[in-house]
Homo-oligomer: 472 residues x 2
């Protein structure tokens, strides 16, 4: 057995028609020889059409039983790697496609100071409290919890999310109308397909936002007419003018990336539009947990759950690695969303078990509280640094969220971004978030979007220093 | 503070226009009052249009500061829950939609003895070794691992899967061509959309299989012409007659559910068809790990990686709760599959980290080994029980996998299923797996598909006893 378990032992058979270099590995002689022969065929060491050693000769060369070699040849004949020609021996089949395994590509090099969008301080992932929650969740879970689960998500998880959303975001929270997704992007794609299947042909979007989400709507063959954004949020008063459009995607609590909340007047206006036009509001509440002033604005969804589809995510509050989001769906759309999601859940049920324990045990609230304090500190430091070192620059959108916008003098954005890149500082220009179909209204022509949550506590002071150095 | 943290404390305000029943809860007076008011509005306790108590009166009633009440009213005004009429007070807004949260539906009752398809012995989920792998994986992971990850899957995970597949299944394993999915069904859907986008209009399927997978292909608007199945697997010789069809979905190692391996002649035949017709083979290797005879048949993919899309899953070998599958994709199809999968991975990156550690540490192999022994034992017990108690019944498809088919006398299937249901035994009729468009060829007209992996070790003897009792 010690002999047969030798791994990667190289032996050379020179007696026969081919010069056979075998890498014997694996947990048994037969399995090891089978794999070594497949490797040799695949890599071209044994070319198509070449003759294999007679089984007795190969067994002698390798010091193994002849029966092992014949069993191995017979399996490879059955699988189609080899062919036998009566009386003349065993050959490598002509039909095997020969390849070499490519090298694994090296990972991309990270910038020195990343303050780009979408990133977060992954050092903050609560490794030990998450593992503790996993231990408790696995100890308590019934065996059946390890099966396929509910296609919409585990009911316990949806109940925990419903309670949390009602408590923290004022969301009308019927667990039966909550659908789990593999993050916001997956959820938006599911809802977009459902809307398309229900006859929608377009979804109005804010004139600033991530192009990746506009792309998701486009993938569902929906048009995306833009609504201009100002200090009161999206100009929803323009919705009436968009003929045939019956849906709008908004970030009401904190416009992304410009940072303003949708004003009370416009909140009322968009709800009235939805009622009179039979419209649907998609509410992206991507960072509802992170608000630093004393009045957290509740979700729009609570005011009219039949006309608002609410989207939340654990990507900002825990980590993108969790791949977990939630959608609160109006009753009449639930069937279409369930169909678009598919018959089996995509979300890890293991993660659902752990997340449920993480939320109900209070670990989630305390994790968010500690991150909120850290982000509030950074936000103050960012404002102070800009005021003292670049006093001509205005900071907007700072009541909430994980990023701020620095308004630059007109015409300087490209230049500042180049200077930042030279210093190894990754930061985005505001224009990168602009809807390509939006009019250029000049309200905010040039700007930087600074994601102050993107780096660790230790990297933040250095990144901030680099940032103020490149400001005009 | 002790006062303000009282939860679910019921207080009644009777002085004013509405009889206000407030459920004070939450972590602070203001937050608690805000939530209680939202609840009261939402549930209809405070009807639309009704007047709220003056802030001074409510503050007195509740024994809290008046400023707390005014702050709370002002927030709810801003959010749109309330409206203020100058000089006459604060009212519940007319536009709030009122609801009652529905009861959570009770879970369905499980059958006493479940031997149905798709289930597995979830008691076998390796809770402690999985948690141990999680601890090691989290300790070793860099911070960046908690971000969004690679849209196709983490490279380390794909390398671990590539090594495993090459070693165990003879798959040609370039990690760059491996794409992770949220299980087989998700992966099949992704590939189906990719094929549709590449101009495919149909995918031939085996005349027996799970209707859910035929449905996934149908969802991508692909036709699914059937290929008859016999003791040599699917009749791939008929592929040439399907005009315009350039793809076929097969279970070559172990036809599902009839259990035969694709014969060596047909393996050669389908590869030759793929080359001559420019065809593509989708290889569903759903239970490749579970083979009980001495010669595990390697994957077809290894013979021609450019013409085979290989699908594997952790649902049978670990648990469906993991929601993890893998696809090995030919180079020329990789871009289309990546596009169809989307810009962000759906698979939990946390699970990927843990699974990688689980595989590379050897825990995966030892887990499979122990399950294989248990299933082999059950398979022997099933054959013995059927032979001794129902000797007229033939058992087919027993060299591998997690289920067996008992061939019943013609015309008895419906009757046996009814008898099984009366005894609380969940088992499937073979006819439920039959492609609705397939001809009725009478080879296996009636049968039971018995998933002998579906119950725990303790439940198995009872389930087996019930099974043989209902056999004719």
């Amino acid at each position: 057995m010690a002999e047969s378990q030798t791994t990667s032992q190289t032996r050379r058979s020179t007696r026969t028609g081919v010069d056979l270099l075998l890498q014997l590995r694996g947990s048994g002689t037969r399995a090891g020889l089978t794999e070594a022969l497949r490797d040799a065929v695949r890599s071209g060491h044994l070319p198509a059409g070449s003759r294999l050693p007679a089984s007795r000769a190969l067994a002698n060369d390798l010091g193994i039983a002849r029966s092992t070699v014949t069993e191995c040849y017979s399996l490879l004949l059955e699988e189609g790697w080899l062919t036998a020609r009566h009386g003349s021996g065993t050959f490598v089949a002509e039909r095997v496609q020969q390849h070499r395994v490519k090298e694994v590509p090296a990972p991309r090099r990270e910038p020195s100071h990343g303050l780009g969008p979408g990133a977060a301080d992954y050092a903050d992932f609560p490794r030990s409290t998450w593992l503790a929650a996993a231990r408790r969740a696995f100890a308590a879970a019934p065996h059946s919890a390890f099966g396929y689960g509910d296609p919409l998500g585990r009911m316990e998880t949806r109940v925990a999310i419903a309670d949390y959303l009602a408590r923290v975001r004022g969301v009308y929270a019927d667990p039966g109308r909550i659908v789990l997704s593999s993050g916001y992007q997956h959820g938006l794609g599911v809802v977009a397909r459902a809307l398309k299947n229900q006859g929608h042909e377009s979804v109005a979007v804010e004139s600033y936002g991530l192009d990746i989400y506009r792309g998701v709507l486009g993938d569902a063959e929906l048009r995306i007419p833009p609504l201009e954004v100002d200090e009161e949020g999206a100009q929803v008063q323009r919705l009436h003018r968009l003929d045939g459009n019956r849906a709008v995607l908004l970030t009401p609590a904190h416009q992304f990336p410009t940072g303003h909340a949708l004003s009370p007047e416009r909140r009322a206006m968009v709800l009235d539009w939805a009622r009179s036009a039979g419209g649907l509001i998609l509410e992206d509440d991507y960072d509802g947990e992170f608000r630093y002033d004393r009045k957290p604005i509740g979700a729009l969804q609570g005011l009219d759950p039949d006309r608002v589809v609410y989207f939340g995510t654990a990507s900002k509050s825990i980590a993108p690695a969790l791949r977990l989001g939630w959608i609160v769906v109006p009753d009449r759309l639930l069937g279409a969303v369930a169909d678009a999601k598919g018959r089996v859940d995509t979300v890890s049920v293991l993660d659902q078990l752990i997340f449920t324990e993480f939320v109900t045990s209070g670990a989630f609230d305390s994790h968010i509280r500690s991150r909120r304090q850290s982000y509030r500190r950074r936000r103050t430091q960012l404002v102070d640094a800009v005021q003292s070192r670049a006093s001509g620059i205005r900071v907007i959108g700072m009541q909430a969220g994980l990023q701020a916008v620095l308004i630059l003098p007109a015409g300087t954005e490209a230049w500042v971004l180049q200077a930042a890149a030279r210093r190894g500082l990754l930061v985005s220009g505001l224009s990168a978030f602009r809807h390509p179909g939006a009019e250029r209204d000049g309200r905010w022509s040039d700007g930087l979007v600074v994601n102050f949550s993107a780096v660790s506590d230790s990297a933040w002071p250095g990144a901030l220093e680099e940032l103020v150095r490149v400001l005009p």
